[in-house]
Symmetry: C2
Subunit: 392 residues, 2 copies
């Protein structure tokens, strides 16, 4: 399997009160088309990752909706898998290109969350959970708090270690002009922020975000000329998706054997490493699904970057931070600080890794990054999507 | 492109007050697995076609939801494209199998509509329309009524001709044990039924329906043994999908040049005929998207079965009716009489054509049917999905 990414762009993420989903989509797609130096007419199919437009906005038929807006009368469909909708849309794009049915496809992730009351958004997001969790009145902070508490009990993970995830990701976001939160924070600030669902505090949680991201995939074997000036050498690199894997687990936490691991992440990543023929140590840069700080710690372990129970300490020691870490994790700022427009997140992760491998990530650049990984999760781990990218 | 269908099953369609989406999905999938004589563990990926679970039920993450219920921990995603969700899910399944990523996939279409007030359902369905149409208070009967009026004005299509679509489809449904309405009706009954949106009357409209349908697709080249007793000879036939095509148009009617044609149908079917290397005349049996009687008339013309303006007369003369028609259209009873559980419809169409080509359609059997076509539409024609199947 080998699919080339020829363009990848995002809008700024944030509380974009003056922007509509249409605006956001158009900006992200225009950015990608300009990068790829192609006309919209060359796109053969459109895959839209989105979770909430139906439950919050009553708008279905998003494939045709955005196809019309983008003036592309191409086959179009919406792909939904809760917060993993973006990653699944990329997976669908990879299938489309590999199938030979479409040689060039656009994957668009878009979510507009701030037009609705936070309580409505929280309720709509629970559409990703199990019936029992919803009936019990659980919200996602509560579910991840249970996971955090279990991890603390089993491995001695501390609240400071949780906080250090947020501190690192805010630092990375401070370098990212498109991030929602560009302020650096301290461990003390995280620990003193309002309690949301013990042990998770406000600054352990990713925000509600508007944003869009777009990626163009192709099976075209010709290298596409991009970049100019000083970036010519770097930009000649071809960025390929060399693995795309999805795994599924129970919707609810109650049905799982262990709350300190997300089995879908383990299964999907093992499959992806095998497909890419690499080991975790070879990953230079990764975007992982840190919807809550505990999620990044669990992901680091489940992805094989650190043994179980040791990721918290490693992150606190800066072992995944820009400048000295390996792999460097969430250079975009992650969901925590770059923002989490749910259906766009999985696509944005690909955009960030593309930029890293292409060598055009500016202040966020991980020097010499050749292999990157993205990890996108739906719900509390019922869906996990892993992509591995390589610069060639 | 060549994808084999090794199993195809539906639940009964109707107002199934005592059934949940889970029940319906399990029944359809169990039927398919028994037919294919395989274990659920052999399925490598799941594609769920559904439109309304999010807007009506607040349930997202349907891929993982049904994967869990079916005890399949496989990659899973929901595919949405309004009333074309089922057809698009089949298209995604075709891509998946052709991509080489998954050698055996399950496509499940499911919709539970009767748990909600009809007004809520009508509003949720408008999620498939344009903003302007929704703001104007239009419903789908109103939009198709505009198309009907335009067709009558341009071609002299009569209300009797519209009614004859419903009469034929109720007759076919009377032979289908899984259909929602099994009563035969007369042209007079249609003409005397309550006016919904002039010129469309109650019996010109498809109903609100619960139901599920499941299809198993594979790239397996080995013929799968199925059937028993007297059906052995017939059931040795291999049923392949030989074309899968999607086209997109504007969401709203106001943006289209002509209301008497659905351009997406024309475009997708031309692509599909080319891919299958056949002409319309070679189609023996077709399931088309008759959400309203006018929709079947327009589809007959757009699919190339009759010249523009002549389908109404042809249908009235019985030229698409079981026993003497060619192609025979909507042997299941169509959306009109078999029922229209929106996300399941496109999958059910494949089930019906599979049964026809396999020679196991019982009283509905079109003798000697070798080539079949399905036509699934989203909204008022923003999405059209065409599949062509052949017995080999």
């Amino acid at each position: 399997m080998k699919v080339e990414i020829i363009a990848a762009a995002t809008t700024k993420f944030g509380e974009l009160w003056h922007r509509s989903p249409r605006d956001l989509a158009k900006e992200a797609v225009a950015g990608a088309l300009i990068q790829a130096k192609i006309n919209a007419k060359e796109i053969k199919a459109l895959f839209v990752g989105n979770m909430l437009s139906s439950s919050l906005g009553g708008q279905d038929h998003l494939g045709a909706f955005f196809a019309e807006e983008l003036k592309m009368t191409v086959p179009a469909m919406k792909i939904e898998g809760a917060c993993a909708s973006g990653g699944l849309a990329i997976h669908a794009g990879v299938m489309a290109v590999n199938s030979g049915l479409y040689d060039k496809v656009l994957v668009l992730g878009v979510e507009k969350m701030t037009d609705h009351k936070p309580e409505e958004v929280a309720q709509a997001l629970m559409g990703a959970g199990s019936d029992m969790e919803r009936e019990a009145g659980a919200t996602f902070p509560a579910l991840y708090a249970l996971m955090a508490r279990a991890h603390m009990d089993k491995y001695g993970t501390s609240e400071e270690e949780l906080a250090s995830v947020a501190v690192k990701n805010h630092y990375h976001a401070s370098l990212n002009s498109h991030a929602q939160f560009r302020n650096t924070i301290t461990v003390e600030q995280v620990l003193r922020s309002s309690m949301i669902a013990s042990p998770l505090k406000l600054l352990d949680c990713s925000p509600i975000t508007d944003g869009a991201a777009a990626v163009i995939l192709t099976n075209n074997k010709k290298p596409v000329p991009t970049g100019r000036g000083g970036q010519i050498t770097k930009s000649k690199k071809v960025i390929n998706i060399i693995a795309s894997a999805v795994a599924t687990d129970t919707l609810g936490l109650a049905e799982r054997k262990d709350l300190t691991t997300i089995y879908a992440t383990v299964e999907a990543s093992e499959k992806a490493y095998k497909e890419a023929n690499i080991i975790p140590k070879e990953v230079d840069v990764a975007e992982v699904h840190d919807c809550f700080t505990i999620a990044e710690i669990i992901a680091m372990e489940d992805l094989g970057f650190f043994p179980k129970g040791q990721a918290g300490k490693a992150i606190k020691e800066g072992k995944t931070k820009l400048g000295k870490g390996s792999p460097v994790v969430n250079t975009s700022g992650g969901l925590k600080a770059s923002g989490h427009p749910v259906g766009a997140t999985g696509v944005k992760q690909i955009v960030e890794i593309y930029r890293q491998l292409k060598g055009i990530a500016g202040k966020q650049q991980v020097e010499g990054a050749k292999i990157g990984l993205t990890h996108n999760v739906g719900g509390s781990g019922a869906t996990a999507v892993i992509h591995i990218l390589r610069a060639e």
